[in-house]
């Protein structure tokens, strides 16, 4: 099968108009000995056969719609209203390119303008860009921006920032000679702030679910004229105070929880917001208001001289294609959920996680690893690393997608599991999880 529209007769006519006998003649520039290589690929399939194959492959994955799920750790199972698929799936959005010709791209452009507004509101920040690849690369770009803004070359962050965000930040900054210092805790990180520090990077809630006192951190960073950069879980902003309330300079986040399916890790969307004074140092695309020549209000890609196509090796970032469609999904989600809905999603996630944490803490052999305030994730310390494995096995046997084993990332937390609840978890699911833990 293929998606070519010509008939053979039409193709022949076209070749004739070019004075060619065969289409192969178009490729004579390719060295003969490497021209038309064999491709060892499985044979072509019809639509029906492919659908069968892919239904089978899809079926080999345990999905979190039909199974209770207590996994978070950077990707979150939240409810997705029906309108999202129908609206974001409209081909006029789906099959458009980056809005280079504003006269025929106002739909995409206005949606991005609304996205930028909502991201600013969510984090209480002045401006946002049109999206980054994901939360991790958004944090990496924030580190680079902080270096460019301050002229300093050291970044400090605690290990309670998501491990992937830290890893990506290291990858992006290391070649530019930027130093990244990582410390076990926020407290330790604060001790190492100095006048050579470009930025303090933290995550709210942190990777272990804990809510941080952002005012203290912001003050500490600003005391050294370093930027205060926060990566924040956007859903939590429905309930807890946003980083902008505490003087954050750059706030980024992973937008997936706002209406995007888990999709085994992507596509997701990076949120990037900052103070107004830094707009000319922002990475990526930005949409602004413009008037057309009859004075009609419209939207356009703006501040383009920061970008790679114009500035080339002096651009603020190399990003070109971003995550436009996922930004649209976020915009539709926040429209549908609105002011009241996001609050309810956040409240329910909070209450369910606190219920689950309290019930698990009552069980012998389990305790909460931290006693500070948390949003919807919490760490449970089991008796041993073996007990963690036994819990994971028991969950799998019970058809539950259990917590995240922290042995994956922290050597000193091999006996710990990170659990997450959202509005999707029913009390009955939570009680089942508790019963499974109890029986181990």
């Amino acid at each position: 099968m293929n998606y070519i529209s010509h008939s053979d007769a039409e193709r022949a006519e076209m070749l004739e108009s070019l004075g060619l006998q065969s289409v192969e003649e178009l490729f004579e520039v390719v060295p003969r000995h490497v021209r038309f290589p064999e491709l060892k690929l499985p044979k072509a399939l019809s639509e029906l056969e492919v659908t069968r194959l892919m239904t089978d492959l899809s079926g080999q994955n345990t999905n979190v719609l039909s199974h209770p799920c207590f996994l978070g750790a950077g990707a979150y199972r939240h409810y997705i209203p029906s309108v999202i698929g129908h609206l974001a799936g409209r081909a006029e959005f789906f099959t458009a390119y980056t809005p280079y010709q504003p006269e025929v791209s106002q739909g995409t452009l206005q949606a991005i303008y609304e996205f930028q507004t909502m991201m600013g509101e969510l984090y209480n920040m002045e401006v946002a860009n049109a999206s980054m690849y994901d939360g991790a690369s958004a944090l990496a770009e924030a580190a680079i921006m902080a270096v460019n803004v301050t002229g300093r070359r050291k970044i400090i962050m605690p290990r309670t920032v998501h491990p992937d965000s830290r890893a990506v930040t290291r990858t992006y900054t290391e070649p530019q000679g930027i130093t990244i210092e990582e410390y076990a805790t926020v407290e330790e990180a604060l001790e190492h702030l100095d006048d050579a520090t470009a930025a303090l990077l933290v995550q709210q809630p942190d990777f272990l679910g804990q809510l941080l006192d952002l005012q203290k951190l912001s003050d500490a960073a600003h005391a050294h004229k370093a930027l205060f950069v926060v990566s924040a879980y956007p859903t939590a902003m429905g309930l807890i105070k946003p980083p902008g309330d505490f003087g954050a300079d750059i706030v980024v986040g992973e937008g997936q929880p706002l209406g995007m399916a888990l999709s085994f890790g992507g596509p997701y969307v990076g949120i990037f917001t900052c103070r107004n004074e830094y707009i000319r140092q922002l990475p990526g695309r930005i949409v602004g208001k413009a008037l057309d020549k009859e004075g009609k209000q419209a939207y356009v890609l703006t501040l383009r001289t920061r970008e790679q196509d114009i500035r080339r090796e002096r651009a603020t970032s190399n990003i070109c294609t971003n995550e436009g469609l996922i930004a649209l999904i976020v915009t539709i989600y926040l429209s549908a959920m609105g002011k009241q809905g996001l609050r309810q999603v956040a409240e329910q996630s909070y209450h369910k996680a606190h219920y689950a944490a309290a019930e698990i803490a009552k069980l012998p052999g389990y305790e909460l690893a931290f006693d500070g305030p948390f949003f919807n994730e919490f760490v449970v310390r089991c008796k041993s690393a073996e007990a963690v494995e036994a819990v994971q096995k028991a969950c799998r046997e019970a058809g539950i997608i259990g917590g995240y084993s922290l042995s994956e990332v922290f050597d000193d937390m091999a006996d710990c599991l990170l659990f997450c609840c959202t509005e999707m978890n029913t009390r009955e699911e939570i009680d089942r999880l508790v019963a499974v833990l109890k029986a181990v």
Binding site: L26, A44, Y100, P175, S335, H354
Partner: protein, 488 residues
Amino acid sequence: MNAPLEPLIYDISRPGRIAFSLPDLDVPEAPIPAEFERDPELLGLPEVSELDVVRHFTHLSRLNHAIDVGFYPLGSCTMKYNPKLNEDVARMPGFTWVHPLQPEDTVQGALRVQYELQNYLAEIAGFDAATLQPAAGAQGELVGVLTIRAYHQARGDTQRNKILVPDAAHGTNPATAAMCGFKVVTIKSDSRGNVDLEALARHVGPDTAGLMLTNPNTLGLFDEHLTEIAEIVHKAGGLMYGDGANFNAILGIVKPGEVGFDVMHINLHKTFSTPHGGGGPGSGPVVCKSHLAPYLPTPVVEKETRDGQDHYSFRKLPGTVGKVRSFWGNFGMHVRAYTYIRVHGARGLRDISENAVLNANYIMNKLKDTYDVAYDRTCMHECVLSGRKQKQKYGVKTLDIAKRLLDFGYHSPTIYFPLIVEEAIMIEPTETESKTTLDEFIDTMLQIAREAEETPDLVKNAPYTTPVLRLDEATAARKPELRYRCFG
């Protein structure tokens, strides 16, 4: 000032309207610490009904041009038809509703898709290994250049601080090289649109880390000295990076891995038909030769056969350049590209490139007497014209021609890129367009050329029929207004 085409969602908002429903809370409420709780009144989100949401975004969608609406010959972007089948497959619950950190034995189908896609891409491009992690082409470039850097460093070859980039290259190439800490050296093109071999020989040396080459290049031309270029760079100890944005021209025609490239990225959102979504998501897998494989982003997917059963798992790479994206990349795009390859098979992929190249040459041939062509030789999947004649003779710029095309229901070609062609008009028809569409487009381009001659103002003031007319972009950039303010 005229009314906007569509009000902002915030303008539609009315206090108390809702468009969601959630179950009642079924657990006890826990106290929320006051020092953390946000004042709900200060959450600046709209309040609208479900029908408000549906109408608003439906109205917005209708202001867009898109592939499903009409021809989109945007050069370098490969705006081919995006098969509906891919969308149905990508929405299967075992692909959408899977958490990236689930135990491996609960995601064997997903891992198999990734494993096989790694292999297919390596096979199609002629390389030994692949990573699917990069989220788009530019991030693939970052990975590729970082692997080159890691390779030199591992050999103690630390004086290589320059990356050579031809002047025809896309802006992401120099931007990427700079992000990776390299000095960018621009190499000029020769009179036939190839890399200028003399210029290359002059700049290449013991400080060359590599050359970033797009082939076919952004002029739509296959470099006539590809083998020599690779030889020159390799002899100096540098490596060859391939920008695979134009891979759609050469599927089954030539494998880049067999003509001297060491590493290359592939834009799944171009060649492998995943939808562009108004600016993304993309996906930019990187394929490479075995000498660069140890440095790929971690992890990669592997297969093991135990007791006759295939088992797929992630393997961490100790020598990796690191991660560039959380989790495993844009999996939803991997599923679509995988489906697309399975539908086509080897012959089907070659048909894609043959038709893409035929279509571009057909357009170039019909327009070359009316518009200047940048380089008069057989092109690959796109052709680059120049509007310099129209500009000199009638004062009609390429921008005007592009805007006039909008009146006829076309998206404009890519314009003013590549930078080395004056008044560039870069047309990429792709393989999926019919002869009828191409003929109509050609007729329109000829008509616009006549208009430029006879009624130049008609072209200079275009468009007339689009939802908005030309915008004052200069003022927009000088006084940026980047959002609505909910609280004044």
